[in-house]
Structure formats: structure tokens, C-alpha cells
Amino acid sequence: MSNVTIGISEIYVTNKPNEELITYSLGSCIGVTIYDPVAKIGGMIHYMLPLSKVSPEKAKTKPGMFADTGIPTMLKSLFGMGAIKDRLIVKAAGGAQLMDQNNVFNIGERNFLIFRKLMWKNNILIKAADVGGSISRTLRLEMNTGRVTIKTGQKVKEL
């Protein structure tokens, strides 16, 4: 098994069955795994922000920073490799929040909201999501099996 770490604002797609994709320290950011179990093609993104309109220049160099540029870029790469839309298994984790009462800091919540809209527009179901709360998460995708796990502190659970 070879580990591939997905950094902040990175997108990675692969068809290598021996790879395990990992992204660490998801706070208000969101990690998304997309997997085609038949073709065994999959990928992961770790985006920070919902909309690229706050910095269109950054979106050009780092589309994976934003949901609205990163998710379409990721889907396009997956389709380019041969993944089929109807087979995609989509899972998401992160989007945590500070103990906020005034909503100015609601980047985590907005991150998930925009993601849901994007999936809905593209007619793709979100199979599972572990989002919100005030916890930090580490997300993994095993390419061989499509198994997705989330780790918080010492606790690991399957998504």
C-alpha cells in the first residue's frame, strides 16, 4: 500500500489499486472522496472555501482551493480517466465550525452547503457525510476497496 497525502487545496485522482489517499487536519475545510467501484478510479480533494469569487486569480492557479472550481475540475479528471457518473460514490468530511453564535465564521457550513448544491446540480448523490461540529478530522480512501474512514483523536470510523 502506498500512501498519497493530499494537501490543502490539492486535487488528486488515480486508478492505482495499491494507493491510499489521505488528507489530514480538516477543520472548516472539506475533504471529498469520489470513487467508481467498477473502474476502481477515484480521487480526493481538500478544499478551503466555498466560492472562487473571493479570488478568481487563485482559482486559476489552485482550483482545488474552492468548492465551485475544485469539484468540477475533479469530476472532469475522473471522467477523463474513465469513471462513469452513475457509478460514483461520493463521501465528504470536515466543515467544522468554531463555537460561533454570530455566523460570520460559518465557512465550514457554507463549504458543505455549496458542495451539496454542486452535487445536486450535477445529479450526483452524496452517499455519506460526516460534517460540522467543532472537531478536526483525517480522511482516508483505500483505492483497492473504496473504503473510506475518518479519524478524530484516536477514534476511527468508517464512512
Binding site: 477543520g27 473571493v54 479570488s55 467544522a96 463555537m99 460561533d100 454570530n102 460570520v104
Partner: protein
């Protein structure tokens, strides 16, 4: 001796910062810090000088002329940039330590400090706030209390976190209830022991509770917001996650909006990449984008 007394005893044995940090801070308070003065301060540190020259030379790949003096480096890189590198390297060598209770490696705690400092600079620019250097320094040091407290709360960490979750109180308040002091106050005591200026001490002490400061200042508010944003981005997010409370007061005083926070966040990654390049052992030549 209570656990709080034991913790406080550690403040006096906490390492001192290199003298040069104090000198840099003095220079910094002067308007338009003249590079010659900064060069006077750093030229006696060979490792630091070497790093700065390396940075200057790697930033203009393709130019045949190699930079060989600090003054030339300052022309290529800019005074503020050199100040940032100098201060970060000095504090790095003194304070790159783990905070085991929080599950933070030295690397992660350091990254959080750098991310918070760079975020403070981004916010100062977006909000037109002066004293960027002083605020940068405060942000860089804001969590050093965790280095001491991390040694004491390994066993009680789960209790502190449970208390914070069950009673929906911020993590630092739970720290105070369980061990009698929190990491922010502790950091302030260290800065005070170092005889740092009061505005830096206050920015560290009140970084989770700007509204409790005797007189709230933009510096305290900026450090508070920068800390929150760098945690949200996942830089040095410990086992306590995001169990902190953003201050309504800071948001109002700085007229912070959602769009400002998102714009600032979008600028942080490149700023961190740029600084991190300087701390890598092997400095592969690449074009640096200067802010």
C-alpha cells in the same frame, strides 16, 4: 504545591529568546524601518545571513548575478520580507517544541504559529491596520503557553475536552477550570518575563478573550481572528479541534465580514508556502512570489 504553582514555576525556566529578537522589535517600532539598521542587527548571525542570501538568490532564477550582501538581498526581497524571515528563524530556533497534551508536534505548533502570524499580516493589509510588525510578533508567539501546559495536561486532557463539550464552554475556559490557568495567560506571563512591550503581552494574554482585555486594541483583535482562521484552515489544529469562541467584540470593532474572512483565507496558503521554502533543508531553486 498545586498543579497551577507547578505550571507557574516553569515560566521562570522557560528558554529566553535570542537577544536579537528584542533588537529587531526595537527597530521595527521605528517608522519605515531602515534596512541598514536591520542588517546591523542580523549580520552577526552567520546562519541567518546565509539563509537570507540563499532566499535572495533562489528568488531570481536565471539572473546571472548572485547576491552576496544583506543590502543587495534587501533590494531584491524587500525589507519587510527579510524582517519576517529573520524573526521567524530566530523564534523557530528557540521555540520549535512539541505540546504533547494537545497532540501537537513541534512541527504542527510551529506551523500554526507561522500561519497565524502570516494571517495577521494579511488581515492588517485588508483592514488598513498599522503596527504590522508588532502584531506579527504577537501572533507568532500567541500559543507558546501550550509548550508549557502541554506537559501538564496530557493526563487531564480528556477531562478538559469533555468539560468543554458537555458544558459548551470554550477550551481555554475548561483549561482554567481544571488546571487553574489557561495557555493564553501562561503565554502572556512568559512574554512579560521577557520584558516584551505591553501590547505584545496583552495580545498573547487575551488572544481567546479580547473583550476581557483592560483596553481592547486592534492588535489583540487581529491576533484573535488570525488564530481562529488558521485553526479553521487546519494549521496546527490540536485534539481540542475548534472548541473556541470567536469574539463578537473583535468582529464589531474590526468590522469583519464573511467576505473579508474568506478573502484573507484564500491568501494564506501562498504566504505559508513562501515562508516554508525558507525552512526546508534543501532549498530547491524556485521563483518566489513576493507579497
Amino acid at each position: 504545591m498545586t498543579i497551577k504553582d507547578e505550571i507557574l514555576a516553569k515560566v521562570s525556566t522557560f528558554p529566553t529568546l535570542p537577544m536579537m529578537v528584542g533588537k529587531l522589535l526595537d527597530v521595527l517600532d521605528e517608522k519605515d524601518a531602515d534596512f541598514r539598521i536591520i542588517a546591523e542587527v542580523i549580520k552577526y548571525d552567520p546562519a541567518l545571513t546565509a539563509n537570507i542570501l540563499k532566499a535572495a538568490n533562489s528568488s531570481y532564477v536565471g539572473l546571472s548575478k548572485q547576491v552576496s550582501s544583506l543590502t543587495e538581498a534587501s533590494i531584491r526581497l524587500g525589507t519587510r520580507w527579510i524582517f519576517k524571515i529573520a524573526l521567524s528563524s530566530l523564534i523557530n530556533s528557540a521555540l520549535r517544541r512539541p505540546a504533547p497534551g494537545y497532540d501537537l508536534s513541534a512541527e504542527e505548533l510551529w506551523k500554526h504559529s507561522i500561519a497565524t502570524a502570516l494571517m495577521s499580516e494579511i488581515l492588517c493589509d485588508l483592514l488598513n491596520i498599522k503596527d504590522k510588525g508588532m502584531i506579527f510578533t504577537s501572533a507568532l508567539l500567541h500559543d507558546m503557553g501550550k509548550i508549557i501546559l502541554g506537559d501538564f495536561i496530557s493526563d487531564s486532557f480528556d477531562n478538559i475536552l469533555k468539560l468543554a463539550e458537555n458544558e459548551q464552554i470554550p477550551f481555554e475556559e475548561a483549561e482554567r477550570r481544571v488546571v487553574g490557568i489557561d495557555h493564553a495567560e501562561l503565554g502572556g506571563l512568559i512574554a512579560d518575563k521577557w520584558e516584551f512591550p505591553k501590547n505584545i503581552v496583552d495580545s498573547i494574554t487575551y488572544h481567546h478573550n479580547p473583550d476581557k482585555a483592560p483596553s481592547p486594541t486592534p492588535a489583540i483583535d487581529i491576533v484573535h481572528i488570525s488564530d481562529a482562521l488558521s485553526l479553521m484552515g487546519g494549521w496546527g489544529i490540536g485534539r481540542e479541534g475548534l472548541h473556541y469562541h470567536p469574539s463578537e467584540g473583535s468582529i464589531k470593532r474590526l468590522s469583519i465580514t464573511n467576505s473579508i474572512l474568506e478573502t484573507a483565507t484564500s491568501q494564506l496558503l501562498d504566504a505559508i508556502d513562501e515562508i516554508e521554502t525558507q525552512f526546508k533543508e534543501e532549498n530547491n531553486p524556485k521563483v518566489l512570489v513576493r507579497g
